[in-house]
């Protein structure tokens, strides 16, 4: 795990890793939104073990860019976020919606470095 030196959360966009924020800015169990250079938004999360996740921030059920404001949870050992609007849950590793097989959101490669 991290020492006292600063550790950042980075997203991979095409080839490059983009530094988003300092790891300490993320509270485990909660998310933050990041604005990507092309105008899209990513939702970043940290779980209690310090693992980072990133998915598209847009809630496909309502269209609003709010997934970063949902609560994290674990379902059968897998991390998910529940949309704060209508509470549908999305697997943080695959982007699949746990409550509707036909819906999913994009996942971004992310690292803590």
């Amino acid at each position: 795990m991290s020492g006292s030196t600063s550790v950042s959360i980075q997203l991979r966009l095409e080839e490059d890793w983009l530094e988003i924020c300092d790891r300490t800015q993320l509270v485990p169990g909660r998310g933050l939104a990041a604005l990507l250079p092309d105008g899209r938004q990513a939702a970043l999360f940290l779980d209690r073990e310090g693992r980072a996740y990133a998915i598209d921030n847009r809630d496909p059920f309502t269209g609003a860019a709010v997934l970063s404001r949902g609560l994290l949870g674990t379902e059968q050992g897998r991390p998910f976020v529940a949309s704060p609007l209508l509470k549908q849950r999305f697997d943080l590793e695959t982007g699949r919606c746990l409550d509707d097989d036909e819906v999913s959101v994009a996942v971004h490669p992310v690292r803590v470095a």
Partner: protein, 853 residues
Amino acid sequence: MPTPAQNPLPRPTLVLIGHGMVGQRFLEAAAAQGLTASHRVVVLCEEPRPAYDRVQLTSYFAGRTPDELSLTDRAFLDEHGIELYVGDAAESFDREARTVTARSGAVFPYDKLVLATGSYPFVPPVPGKDATGCFVYRTIEDLLAIEEYAKRRATTGAVVGGGLLGLEAAGALKGLGLATHVVEFAPRLMPVQVDEGGGAALLRTITGMGLTVHTGTGTQEIVTGEDGAVSGMKLSDGSEVATDLVVFSAGVRPRDQLARDHGLTVGERGGITVDEQCRTSDPDVYAIGECALAADGRVYGLVAPGYEMAQTAAADIAAQEASFTGADLSTKLKLLGVDVASFGDAHGAAEGCLDVVYTDSRSGTYKKLVMSPDGELLGGILVGDAEQYGVLRPLTGTVPPVPAEQLVLPAGAGAPVALGPEALPGSAVICNCHNVTKDAICACSSLPEVKKCTKAGTGCGSCLKVIGQLLPKSGDDGLCGCFGQTRQELYEIVRALRITSFRELLDGHGREGARGGEGCDECKPAVGSIIASLAPSIGAKGYVLDGEQAALQDTNDHFLANLQKNGSYSVVPRIPGGEITPEKLIVIGEVARDFGLYTKITGGQRIDLFGARVEQLPMIWTRLVDAGFESGHAYGKALRTVKSCVGQTWCRYGVQDSVRMAIDLELRYRGLRAPHKLKSAVSGCARECAEAQSKDFGVIATASGWNLYVGGNGGATPRHADLLAQDLGDAELVRLIDRFLMFYIRTADRLERTAAWLDRIDGGLDHVRDVVVHDSLGICDELESLMAAHVTHYRDEWAETLDDPERLARFVSFVNAPGVPDPTVGFVPERDQIKPDLPLLSIGPRPLEGATR
């Protein structure tokens, strides 16, 4: 992954023309029958995108994206080796040479050819029909064009055709913010599905929604302005309607031209003639879906019969036995806010049939059942209240277990029967779209499983309610998947062991598989609330944004504001008892004006300011706190308002000072976290102008003091409060409320209001009175001291937040661009204020200006 064809013999080729809903279902059936393994399968798809859910087309306006409407994915096509040519239509075919030529010039040999070309919208040949601003409503491209045009240059829209689709289109136009007209040639709306009585009820509801309806009149001419764009419409009754946009929805016609051109038999009124196996007059050519004229002489404009035809054709090609002999025409309108359903022999065409009709024109309700002379249910029409559709439709063709008149009477009238889905036979078809029986649904144990295994509920969705009623209730009363305990048990654990951390509780007391995990969105806020309401006595910090607590709260508690549908927030300052000075009222007005917020008086005697972006919240609250306002906790499971009537001070009937008491109570219990929200009211006399008997705790003045009522509720399941104690002095009243609230907080389930709690707990009201008034459990001292601790430790959450730069840092839209507001949060004007820009939401984030992609 499929192995590439190693078969030395060339495989026979199956060509499908048209990749619509039925075409896609045909491919699924073909794959299931093994045809994709034995054949090369080629699909020509005219539209620029693969098959999508046309039935749910209108949900695009409710935010579903084109991608979400898709019915297929790359994986399915790849797995079955299907060659799909998107954006390439079939131009012609040669039945001698057995080839199909595509518009791109490609030529495909075929052994079997399947036509699934669907229909096209019929546009009546009126002058001006091709003008700029005229549209049809059939494809995603149509919708995108309508939306674009409406946004750019229309404020009024008109739909030609008041049938099922026309009303859907009208609903969509209205949703786009247009003043909307519907013109129907027949004397009533939805003439195919409903009869005269039903049409009248429907008309009332539709006009009530703000649409203008013109029935019994046709469209004679589309009037255009100087720029050649639509400016109005002349109707056959001589009147004229000004409109910027016209959507034709005057019925559909089968797309049978290709078949006609190549000598296949077509019906007199259109449709490719097929036999019971869906073969056309050429046995190697099949036609399915809306383009086909079925063996029973009908062209079906609904998806369910098309799906059956798809299964039949696939089975026949695979040399399996199958036939399509006809289908049911039941429909339920999906238009938001109007309940309309018709099923079976809705118009009573059968000989000797009888009607049972119930109408209530005040509420716009009309229900008709068509019965055979021997009591069999043949069909029906439901308008205004289609509750029973899910149960009645599957009963069609049987003698219902109760007399017909009881089926149409509203609940509460006569001798009502709760005819539930348990009354249905196992073979009853519950999901009409996918032809799924009750037995098939009962074989599953959850809704996701039902959807996955049977597809039931994934079409129009009108069967979902009944499906829900058929699925088993689980016997586990644990809080959620993470905790086997009830909320009350967790409260006791937290209190006794003085646990101040969610992780500690989860790892020590959670279910086996959940320990070490994150918890879930149900237990986190519930435990957060338990810890918050016990905070002073277990040594936890009360401030809800601190430390690990921060990750437990719903977004509303996290941002101390209420999340709205477009990602913006609303702000509700506390206005104790509803009393406010003119100065404070002016401050609210100024803040709303300066930040451009939509302003509304709430049902709780205070003011809600909507449309604040996250980064504006601290600035707004700085001004409000400076003016002496505090958080109103509209976001929390906490005390909301204590409403008051004006009471003795002014009112000629008042017997106590209800305003003062309401203010005292609101200030005492503000910030108190509970299993659900808490509401209260104080009335100055028995006339009860503050509606105290609909509150969690309500107080009504008497000549000698106060009466305390508990367990009232408005909302979806209203309940009148019960009288707990009478003629109380001020101090006594407060003491009883302290005890009552703390006892409730201690023993209620997650999201259980006092009304439900009172009805659930053993012994009910009498037990609560024993505990709270007579102290039968000897816990009243403790309950009172818990409340005393709450009252002393209360601090305004917003004032605390503004004082702490670290907490304030959360209020940004983007962690990596703190100054940038979220570009997807947009607004459009309405009635001199703002409202969320919904088209912006449905289309999704737009790239920022100057972005490279």
